[in-house]
Symmetry: C2
Subunit: 271 residues, 2 copies
């Protein structure tokens, strides 16, 4: 592993690009390899055993490409497979759940924390468990709500459509009544709806897992002496190699929406 | 200098608390000393010589308190006194201008960058110079606009008042016509107006200097092995000692608005 080895990011699909975006925002000079297991997305309804197997395959692919760090940019894989990936490989591994839970606990004043995610993530209770594990607040109140329409809305690109507003109002009404002051965006697609959500729950702190994962990465790589050098070089093109297990027809549109720049054609691979 | 030495942050007044807030968001386990030179605020209209002298006094105070890093959380002092403070002391020094300029250059796609700040900051051309220095874009278009009413609006707490909206629309109209895609919030008070500004220039990337300064700090301290240890400790109270050269009657209200928590009574000192 060297300073200019790449950071490997994997996800069940393309949602993890919102995580990559946060990494590019804060440590842009790194090389990245992004692997989306688009042929087998979503992971949410698969058994833990299968998700662990798929995650180990993805991590192995990134390690073979020389990754100095693995980022599990998928909530389901993070909740189920983090330990397995950590145990299997020698590089630092960062998931989505713990950085977001810790950030939420630091942020809340009134101890009412909301979690939104896919049905599978909410049912898994992964964030609830992490919040309880790291919390010393016996008075912590956790309210979670599955928002199944948010992923298709984001993929359709209707980020501020009136229909999206109505849907978000419906989903968030319950959490609003509970007077949450902090809301974990527990799905990689949801950061694209930040503005929509903020308009409905003004003043609530929105916790973006990818942002806090990126900050953890700087700390871990910095302390290990493994950060890439900063460069005074602009007209800046991020250095990302994209790999997918299938190229959906909507890939480029959606990737552009997540990243704000045009991506190269991804390489299709089999795991 | 040790891992648990404090990070020293100074500003001409209380605006730098928005910078401190970003540091607390990303590296909450550090100890902080905040010094606001509230008796001599604002620095904007003072000569470079005087601002350098004041900045060296503030930095000296923080160094004597054991600071392992100095953050100049004031745009005027950053543009005028960064080199002088760097030359005088052995610890890493971070200002506001360079991290924001670099972030803006990485962020823009259409090469139209806006800058808003106080009259003094805009007239100094500090951001323009930094953008040109770090840019290789001969095609870079920089548009700056002084927004003198934004500081008093923030201090009055009218963050979403209809009057504030009208004022912001007036100030931002010109930049909007220039089709900027990136806007540097070149004054420490302005991050509190993020929502107001975002509503007027939707889709424009707002660059918060404090956020990028905090990320620089993690990198620098991490590589020097000087980050405080992370702790699994919540019910979290930030560890900040506040010093001011004068205690204005509105100090507590304004500090609460900037930080989202109640601050202890600051210690009044003379520089």
């Amino acid at each position: 592993m060297e300073n200019n080895s790449p950071i490997g990011v994997f996800d069940s699909g393309i949602g993890g690009l919102s995580v990559l975006k946060q990494f590019l925002r804060f440590i842009p000079y790194e090389k990245y390899i992004y692997l989306g297991d688009t042929a087998r997305v979503p992971y949410g309804n698969k058994s833990a055993e299968t998700v662990i197997e798929y995650s180990l395959q993805s991590a192995r692919f990134l390690i073979d490409k020389g990754a100095k760090m693995i980022v599990i940019a998928c909530n389901t894989a993070s909740s189920v497979a983090l330990e397995a990936v950590k145990n299997e490989f020698d590089v630092p591994v960062i998931g989505m759940i713990i950085p977001a839970a810790q950030a939420a606990l630091r942020t809340t004043s009134n101890h009412n924390i909301g979690i939104i995610g896919t049905r599978a993530t909410v049912a898994s209770g992964a964030y609830d468990k992490a919040l309880m594990l790291y919390s010393e607040l016996s008075s912590l109140n956790i309210y979670s709500k599955a928002c199944p329409l948010f992923v298709p809305i984001v993929e359709e690109g209707w980020l501020e459509h009136d229909a999206s507003k109505l849907i978000a109002e419906e989903y968030l009404q319950e959490l609003k009544e509970k007077e949450i002051d902090t809301l974990i965006l527990g799905c990689t697609h949801y950061p694209l709806l930040k503005k929509l959500i903020a308009d409905i729950v003004p003043g609530v702190n929105l916790i973006d897992s990818g942002e806090h994962a990126a900050v953890s990465a700087i700390r871990i790589l910095g302390e290990a002496g493994l950060l890439a050098k900063e460069r005074d070089e602009f007209n800046f093109t991020p250095d990302v190699d994209f790999y997918v297990t299938d190229v959906p027809s909507t890939f480029f549109d959606i990737a552009r929406r997540f990243l704000d720049f045009d991506v190269n054609t991804p390489k299709r691979i089999s795991l």
